[in-house]
Symmetry: C2
């Protein structure tokens, strides 16, 4: 398992790449695409002129603008890097600027809803290859990005039927060059998989942090002091961007509620095992769950260091 | 906030310290007590002769034995570092070896049950100062310990009424010298606080990892591949020692089930907000939870680095 990006490409995959939304993901793509030579010109687009200025200062794109319609003109790859609830509006805003043969993509954490929002706005001759890089941190904004964010992580593509094979291949090559492993599935299956591997974990984390803050028997100051017992782990993902996560839950409602139902069934069994002193049931579950972490580490999706390799006093 | 232990003491606090159970916690105490000069002699006791041999090889104690009764003889501080379910048996086994004036303690993650198990076995003239260092990793065994485990972490003491003040002060000084902040509370309040900051988070983590492994619509291999979306965070605490955690749940039943009930009420509200598109309710919760992580970081209980400072490709 390598921990660096490879040598840059001799020839770019795209001539002109537009990134709409230059937060954690958009700015990480800008940095990785620049480092790997994936586009001759990178155009960063953000609705917030303050962010446009910061992007210029960071020097992570060749051009930066607040005007999405003008920004996408002549681009052969356009990636929406905005919250999933904003994708339809952004697609509508750029439709008249998209050039024939352009490949549009996105990075949204939900896929069926994004496809439904975006596809209707795309003109004939423009291909749509939705993507979701399964990689991130709890931080946001253009300063938080880094070029190796996608390295050794999976990127899921959910191309609609009829997607031109060469559009799919270029998008695949683009993500592969940034170090990702690419997998293809339907938007619906994606949404189910991510509900259990990402969305419900976030919901559970937000929930426990919220509940702990509201208890009348334990003070918030106690919760904070004694958080090293396990609670603090949950606060990381419960510190992720509120807009992004609101949109994810509203746009992947069905799968999230279904997975939550499953979780509730299983927690009821666990509560029962505790109430009736069924130590064996607990012990068996706790042994199985250990094995799953080992597989995640073996497959390079997690650090083998104890405590996530958290900064440790020396 | 310092990240090193201070200078060793000129005079030890205890003459002869016995640690019963030399796993993560016992071996970390051995290392820290040695480094800080907290005891003239450290006796490591483990029921497993193989572990006794490894402890000798590691050189973390002055003496190592498999015989608890002989090991505690002449010791003025004896700390039980075994799973909470084993504390009563261990106390019974050492009672006839305890010297008058000795101070017995433990490190169990549950306190009311440990007090109930241990106190009846202690002879007149032996003080009991139960302790719980809120610090750990998901690893176990004598190799996993390290001397700064307790640095900048809280250690909770739950002395019963009538504990001699000098016994309490020596235990407090012992933990303070290992870098901990000491707080005193009743066993019952401890168990409620830890239920929400540690026990229920572990239960939730074990539960989601178990549920994910058993789904029929998403394969285990998909769960592993796409775990970087949040799921993998939960697998860390769900990889903790099964015996230790079985015992914690069985011995802190009341508080764990009570806190789980609270969590269930709140998750029902969240599910309703998702179902009825109440984006504001979600957004408000997600903003509040962010603030809690900030406090935990400010108070030195968590690393400020994104993604826990997980090893990042450079
Ligand atoms: N963070 C992760 O871990 C992660 C991982 C995989 C995929 N994703 C997906 O990536 C996308 C971006 O997330 P991120 O983490 O990069 O978020 P971020 O750092 O918060 O950046 C979001 C970007 O979207 C822009 N934006 C927000 N609302 C908008 C609107 N209504 N119209 C136009 N632009 C808008 C923001 O503009 P301003 O500059 O005005 O704020 C900002 O540039 C989301 O769809 C998310 O689901 C995130
Ligand atoms: N790990 C944490 O994060 C953490 C944090 C705070 C407090 N604690 C508490 O610390 C205590 C020890 O935990 P640990 O993490 O150090 O566990 P560990 O690394 O698994 O070590 C447990 C030790 O207890 C011994 N032991 C187990 N069952 C026993 C029995 N029935 N009779 C006698 N000895 C027995 C083990 O002996 P063998 O060598 O034979 O296995 C081993 O030496 C537990 O009460 C736990 O609740 C743990």
């Amino acid at each position: 398992m390598t921990d660096r990006l490879g040598a840059p490409r001799a020839e770019p995959i795209f001539e002109r790449l537009a990134l709409i939304g230059v937060g954690l993901i958009g700015s990480s793509i800008a940095r990785a695409a620049r480092e790997m030579g994936l586009a001759r010109t990178i155009v960063a687009i953000d609705r917030d002129e303050g962010v446009v200025g910061r992007v210029r200062d960071l020097g992570i794109a060749d051009e930066a603008t607040g005007d999405a319609l003008a920004g996408v003109r002549d681009c052969d790859h356009v990636i929406l890097c905005v919250p999933v609830g904003a994708c339809g509006t952004v697609a509508a805003a750029i439709r008249d600027g998209l050039k024939p043969g352009a490949v549009v993509s996105d990075v949204g954490s939900v896929k069926a809803s994004v496809v439904a929002q975006v596809a209707p706005h795309l003109p004939e001759g423009v291909a749509f290859v939705p993507a979701h890089p399964v990689a991130g941190t709890e931080h946001s904004g253009p300063e938080s990005g880094f070029p190796t964010l996608f390295l050794n992580r999976w990127c899921i593509l959910t191309p609609p039927e009829g997607t031109p094979p060469e559009a799919l291949e270029r998008v695949r090559a683009f993500w592969t060059a940034m170090g990702s492993n690419v997998e293809i599935m339907t938007p619906e299956h994606h949404d189910l998989v991510l509900a259990i591997t990402s969305h419900v974990p976030h919901l559970i984390a937000y929930n426990i942090v919220g509940t702990a803050a509201d208890l009348e028997t334990v003070t918030q100051s106690e919760v904070i002091k004694f958080s090293a017992g396990g609670f603090r782990d949950f606060t990381r993902i419960a510190a992720s961007d509120p807009t992004m996560w609101r949109d994810i839950f509203l746009h992947n409602k069905g799968a999230v509620l279904e997975m939550l139902g499953r979780l509730n069934e299983d927690i009821a069994l666990l509560a029962r095992a505790i109430r009736w002193d069924d130590g064996d049931a607990l012990f068996n579950l706790f042994t199985r769950t250990r094995a799953i972490r080992r597989s995640i580490i073996t497959q390079g999706q997690e650090t083998p260091e104890p405590d996530f390799g958290r900064r440790r006093p020396d």
